[in-house]
Symmetry: C2
Subunit: 343 residues, 2 copies
């Protein structure tokens, strides 16, 4: 392939001049610039990334550690990944994809060998083992998620506590007096994934504040899981009129179950979903939902990375305020049923 020397020769200049027209770090006369650019085009020259990384001390590559299990919340993760890649490209960076099950090893490897300029880490647990590792890397890192002790590392996330609160508040405003939470799969809680517990905390806050009855359970992302979860809630909260669903995969089964058991949404049961907008709109009922702004968060993470790379400012955590979109799955609570209606 053509090298910078070939270009220099073709344009009748030195290699450093070519380098400067490429980087713009020194003034170049318009005439020279034109000749160099012509030669570059003619030879189809592309700077060698390795050589660049070696001499220039940066790679224009970001690492993205994503939870690549075929677990749940696949669509959200996809949104994150997509938006991170797209945003990175808009800053002329590429993305190296790491799986979370490489644990800290992957982070240390790509950072230690200078493959990447910075790291973005998703699916943060409350007490994430990767945080101390990230702190001692030379490259800056941004977390998508919120650990208990970020300890100097930048975070971006949806304010899940506020999301939990908002969902309940909305239901309370509609006069509901008891609300069930269909949560993420047990595995999510077991991992200590922080968004689940934060959401739960906000949920509980609101429940307390509004003086509601409540029940909450994790839920496997299958039809059977949704059924089991709903049954438990019904048992603990007979006649429950409001549901909060923080589990995308459970949404579709849940609606099916409700319908086939003759409970209408929203007339008999109001449902607030926590999910990306497109999920909320693809269901049989347009769901009132608190949006999980995956695209926004991914882009935000990249922006933070870039400003850290520019050395612009230190760590900071940015929690996006949740927005609740009113659609067709919520209604005022039905008139108070005679005590002891449904078993």
């Amino acid at each position: 392939m053509a090298t910078i020397a070939d270009v220099a020769q073709a344009a009748g200049v030195s290699t450093s001049t070519v380098s400067y027209v490429l980087s713009g770090r020194r003034p170049i006369s318009p005439a020279t610039r034109a000749r160099v650019e012509a030669s570059i085009a003619e030879l189809g020259y592309r700077p060698h990334a390795g050589a660049r990384a070696l001499a220039g001390r940066h790679t224009n590559v970001l690492a993205l550690a994503a939870p690549l299990r075929s677990d749940i919340n696949v669509p959200v993760i996809m949104q994150f990944v997509t938006s991170v890649v797209t945003a990175a490209r808009s800053y002329d960076h590429d993305v190296l994809l790491l799986t979370n099950d490489e644990g800290t090893a992957g982070l240390e490897r790509v950072a230690g060998s200078a493959m990447v300029d910075a790291l973005i880490v998703m699916d943060i647990e409350s007490d994430d083992a990767r945080i101390p590792v990230l702190r001692r890397l030379r490259q800056p890192a941004v977390l998508i998620g919120l650990p208990n002790r970020p300890g100097g590392i930048s975070c971006v996330d949806l304010d899940f506590a506020a999301a939990g609160y908002t969902a309940v508040a909305h239901l309370a405003e509609h006069g509901h007096r008891s609300v069930g939470l269909i949560g993420p799969p047990p595995a999510v809680y077991q991992r200590g994934t922080s968004y689940a517990t934060r959401f739960l905390a906000g949920f509980a806050d609101a429940v307390g504040e509004f003086g509601l009855a409540s029940a909450s359970h994790p839920c496997e992302p299958t039809f059977d899981g949704a059924l089991a979860c709903l049954n438990r809630i019904d048992a603990e909260l007979p006649g429950v009129s409001a549901l909060v669903v923080h589990n995308e995969a459970a949404l579709s089964p849940l609606l099916g179950i409700l319908r086939s058991s003759g409970r209408r949404v929203p007339e008999d049961v109001s449902v607030v979903a926590i999910c990306p907008e497109d999920v909320a709109l693809g269901l049989p009922i347009r769901m009132t939902s608190v949006d999980i702004p995956g695209h926004q968060l991914g882009a935000l993470a990249v922006e933070r990375v870039m400003s850290l790379l520019r050395g612009e400012r230190g760590a900071e955590t940015r929690l996006l305020a949740p927005t609740l979109a009113e659609r067709d799955s919520c209604a005022d609570a039905p008139a108070e049923p005679a005590p002891g209606t449904r078993p």
Copy 2:
């Protein structure tokens, strides 16, 4: 950071010796090897990837071009991505993630600047514009998918024609005389994505061979889409007793629709799904399905890449035979209804 020179000095050997213990390309005495490895561990030495790429002419990085739209088939894509990354790691390679909407530019960029040793490209269209580009790159490429003219590029994919045939054959064996196909979203066909048309071809073959009546329609991946699609099929094929669903996202809504309209699966309608196994198992009914072996295909693609990198053999296309798993969504056709039953 520690460099190879630091390690060499600490171990009292030359840098080339360190390099040889790392690469194993020349014999090293056990004693020397031990000292070098001790120094490496002690200094926490990691070879600089850029320097390596420059001197060694390879990066140990693969490019993966994935269709990162929040489109449909998100779970399948996720499977591919996951398995490619995992398989790549097992060969000591990393994965650079490209979005398909960068088109050929991304491929040319990462290949031209020597960021990657090889490329894996997903979501191949019948007449994919990226193929001529890939052909003229210095790096080998593997397609996940099957274009009309691979022209010397390796392909791996499920044999979707056989999958379509298999699904219909299974239904025919159960005595069904008419079968509806709920296909991928229109956008998939419009793009000319080859798996959709190949599936359709196999479907049509079998329909012809078994002398069945059939109707097939694309289907938007929403509740409304599924409803509309089913209605069209019902209109064209009154009393249809068998459905093939080549659209994961439509599966759950479809089952809901069938149930709420009082059609039992499988007693009244048999359904064969084409989807990954976990999707087939997460639905209210354990679906009889033709598996889309995402994990297998991703791993296979990486294996092909590795053997190309080793220079082992030339292009070859590998189509995985479909396997149909009998579960609970298919039954024998109901007794022939009196003509003109359902409108």
